[in-house]
Amino acid sequence: MPRVILGGEVGRRYAGGATEIAVEADTLRHLLLELDRRFPGLGRQIEEGMAVAIDGTIYQDTYVVPLRPESEVCLIPRIAGG
């Protein structure tokens, strides 16, 4: 099942200090829904203020990403540019 790395601040704020959790999900959308169900507010926080890196590739503003059982999903700040 995919592993989600929460990062310090998000883990403290939403997940009782957890830094890494396993989540049963086969798409990013399902993962966000499951995270929000388990940690109310976290799904919205990710959608509105964060990006995810799935196995090293950064995704922003999208649900349409399949996950593999061994995927690593890192929650990271959103990235823009100049």
């Binding site: 503003d61 690593e72 990271i76």
Partner: protein, 758 residues
């Protein structure tokens, strides 16, 4: 989308055709923001604060309105009051309440030059006089300019309702520190204990402006039915539409924004300043309104990027393995929260594979213009500190600085301090190419020194739309939704030509307005060739698929019998010799008979932008009498994934380096004791000119990004990241004096040399 392979067997990609917008620009015919006019148009101008920090007691616009020729005056009272709410809709987090108050101050002015009111009049002279007649009474307040002064207890507070985020327990008193961030990897204390050499130093940088040649300019017209049109120079017509709709309480469908040519942006045109005011004035006056900033206004009221304090501590074993990397970054945000400290923290050590990292960042408001994005926002500042400190570590260890970087280089599989592991990256390739480059072993002259530095930027994708239309003669038009800042029309046309199999001269790229092309996120984050390029390729592939269907119909063969090669429908292998090729021109001519015009569009949300890395080598000569630093040779090596148009890739690299050299040597804002900017012009705010620069040798490394059909990565931001440290390291190599405070201008260098001599 088809992968077009990563060997360079391309016919168009990787060549150097003349850019499609080139003739218009070099002949002065290209229409920029200030070139547009409408009948009956009024001149709009802005009344700005003379104070760095003051409460607005009263505003009396009646004397201005009484002046013949004045058609409208607006203040913040003419804009809707917007609640505080942070969104992420542009080039970084944005709070529309702050953006509204930056466009027109409400209650308080927060920096000298802060807009307080705007007028529209029948002439420039009348508008100027109207500004003079607006009566404003201020209650001046203590101000604070510098970042650590703003963080200090007892500093003048800009916002009574600003409480530091990211600290526990949540503070109960307001502060100028908007946010505290931390990124932690491993155990920094253990890393420092394992170190056999430790270097620790404090570096400072000054705010620098993006210094685009073209000042902000726009024309707005509002019809009697409320339909609004805006013509302006920006990095995103859809951004202008969205921000104006939000700030003015208008429906997006009621606003059409047409992008003008843009005379530089570099991140500084990812916000609105004039556009909402021009719309409000046009609405109030019933006439079109044109607004153009002066250079002085550009300096006093737009951009820049942050000034900062960067504290770095590095520990390593004797053989050069870095065991600990620690940094504290304090970034000025200007008048409202939102400095690029977060990407600065994330980028700081991303070139390296480090076991123990601890980064703390502070986002700090002060009485300066609100910062705007600037090329790789935040990264150059962090890298100046980190890459300077790394040079000091190399000297402490007696190691070659590139060998130290090579030993600690991030590679595929390296975990970053901000979380993820890297996939395919080309950092080590840039270090290797720099080591092998003839520049690195070339002899140096008297008073000369050599420095190296590396840099990283994420690059982004995002939402993009594109259309490809086949013309009646077999030529094609590519329409995209992104203003062309760095040659993107050329790269988009080339990718379309490659897929269609026709010469690029047969493809005309244009930039559509907000009503003629689907939504596209703004031009920024080095994303257009990557993301919009993907949309163009997808649309071109759909066109090719349709062309093959049309050919099969004409030839009366199965669609499986038709392949596409060199701009023509040809038989597939099993149908060889069964029919002659049908050219795109022939198919276009018969388009009506075979089903109508041939076009395709693609709207995508591109993901998987590949990160970019660069390693620079810089030689300087320091005049020991004056302290003037002359850059005598510069080589910039960068992994670009795939150079679609190598000349424009090289141009981006050279432009980034040139801006970085200005940042390093001369550019700074000088304030008087009252918080008033003393150098708001290019005479006193010195950007590099041609005679300041050597030929910048851009060396392209290509480690393809597998998520782009041609392997492209973003290009435009990485090259501004290494130069400041490369120059500081070169100066040390030349004269043995460490310059840790930017800019390294002649007086500062001379003072450092004098202190060292004494």
């Amino acid at each position: 989308m088809t992968s077009h392979g990563h060997s360079n067997g391309f016919k168009v990609v990787g060549t150097r055709p003349i850019r499609p917008d080139g003739v218009e620009k070099v002949t002065g015919r290209a229409a920029f923001g200030a070139d547009f006019s409408l009948p009956g148009m009024l001149v709009g101008k802005v009344k700005r604060s003379p104070h760095a920090h003051a409460r607005i007691r009263t505003i009396n616009v009646a004397p201005a309105l009484a002046l013949p020729g004045v058609k409208a005056v607006i203040t913040a009272a003419d804009l809707p009051e917007i609640p505080s709410e942070e969104s992420f809709v542009g080039e970084g987090p944005i709070n529309f309440r702050d953006l509204s108050r930056n466009c027109l101050a409400r209650d308080k002015v927060l920096y000298e030059g802060h807009a307080v009111a705007a007028v529209a009049a029948t002439s420039s002279a009348i508008a100027d006089e109207a500004l003079e007649r607006i009566e404003i009474t201020y209650e001046p307040l203590p101000h604070v300019i510098d970042v650590e002064a703003a963080m200090a207890p007892g500093a003048p507070l800009l916002h009574d309702d600003l409480f530091t985020q990211g600290v526990e327990p949540a503070p109960t008193r307001p502060s100028n520190i908007a946010k505290r961030l931390q990124f932690v990897l491993g155990d920094i204390a253990a890393g420092l204990r394992a170190a056999e050499a430790v270097v620790e130093r404090r570096y400072t940088t000054q705010p620098v402006h993006q210094a685009y040649i073209e000042p902000h300019a726009c024309v707005a017209a509002v019809a009697a039915d409320g339909q609004c049109q805006i013509w302006c120079s920006s990095q995103g017509q859809f951004m202008v539409r969205a921000y104006c709709a939000k700030l003015l309480g208008m429906g997006i469908a009621n606003i059409r924004v047409t992008p003008a040519e843009i005379g530089g942006g570099f991140g500084g045109k990812t916000l609105v300043y004039l556009e909402p005011l021009a719309v409000a004035l046009a609405k109030k006056s019933g006439r079109p309104v044109k607004m153009v900033m002066t250079r002085e206004e550009v300096f006093r009221a737009t951009g820049p990027t942050s000034g900062a304090v960067v504290e770095v501590k590095l520990g390593a074993t004797r053989d050069g393995k870095i065991t600990a990397a620690q940094a504290v970054l304090k970034y000025q945000a200007g008048a409202f929260p939102g400095s690029p400290v977060q990407p600065g923290c994330m980028a700081a050590f991303s070139m390296y594979d480090l076991p123990n990292v601890h980064i703390t960042g502070y986002d700090v408001v002060c009485n300066r213009p609100k910062v705007a994005a600037y090329r790789a926002p935040g990264a150059p500042i962090a890298s100046f500190g980190v890459e300077s400190c790394l040079d000091e570590l190399a000297r402490t260890l007696g190691m070659d600085p590139l060998a130290l970087r090579e030993k600690n280089a991030a590679r595929e599989g390296t975990r970053t301090a901000y979380g993820p592991v890297f996939n395919e990256i080309g950092y080590i390739d840039t270090v290797t190419a720099a080591k092998k480059h003839a520049h690195y072993s070339a002899p140096l002259g008297p008073h000369q020194g050599r420095g190296v530095a590396s840099g990283f930027w994420f690059n982004v994708g995002g939402e993009s739309s594109a259309e490809v239309h086949v013309n009646e003669d077999g030529s094609a038009v590519v329409v995209s939704g992104n203003p062309d800042i760095g040659g993107s029309r050329a790269s988009l046309a080339m990718m379309a030509a490659e897929v269609l199999g026709i010469p690029v001269e047969r493809v005309r790229p244009i930039v559509g307005d907000t009503s003629s092309i689907g939504y596209s996120f703004l031009t920024g984050g080095s994303r257009v060739t990557f993301a919009t390029g993907m949309a163009v390729v997808q649309a071109a592939e759909e066109v090719v698929a349709e062309l093959k269907r049309r050919a099969a119909m004409i030839l009366d063969v199965s669609p499986d019998a038709v392949a596409w090669k060199d701009g023509a429908a040809v038989p597939t292998e099993s149908y060889l010799g069964k029919f002659d090729p049908l050219s795109l021109a022939t198919l276009a001519l018969k388009a009506g008979r075979t089903g109508g015009p041939i076009s395709a569009k693609a709207s995508i949300n591109a993901q998987g932008a590949g990160p970019g890395f660069a390693t620079h080598i810089c030689d300087v000569e320091v005049d020991p009498e004056t302290g003037k630093v002359h850059v005598v040779r510069y080589t910039a090596v960068q992994d670009v994934g795939r150079a679609i148009h190598p000349s424009y890739v090289e141009g981006q690299i050279q432009g980034g380096v040139a801006q970085g050299i200005g940042w390093a040597l001369n550019e700074e804002y000088i304030y008087d004791g009252c918080g008033r900017l003393e150098n708001p012009g290019f005479l006193d705010y010195r950007v590099p000119v041609a005679s300041d620069l050597p030929m910048i040798d851009a060396v392209i490394v290509e480690v393809p990004n597998p998520r782009h059909p041609f392997g492209a990565r973003g290009v435009g931001e990485v090259p501004i990241v290494p130069p400041m440290a490369a120059l500081a390291n070169a100066i040390f190599d030349a004269v043995g004096v460490r310059l840790a405070d930017l800019p390294m201008s002649p007086p500062k260098v001379l003072a450092a040399l004098t202190a060292a001599r004494n």
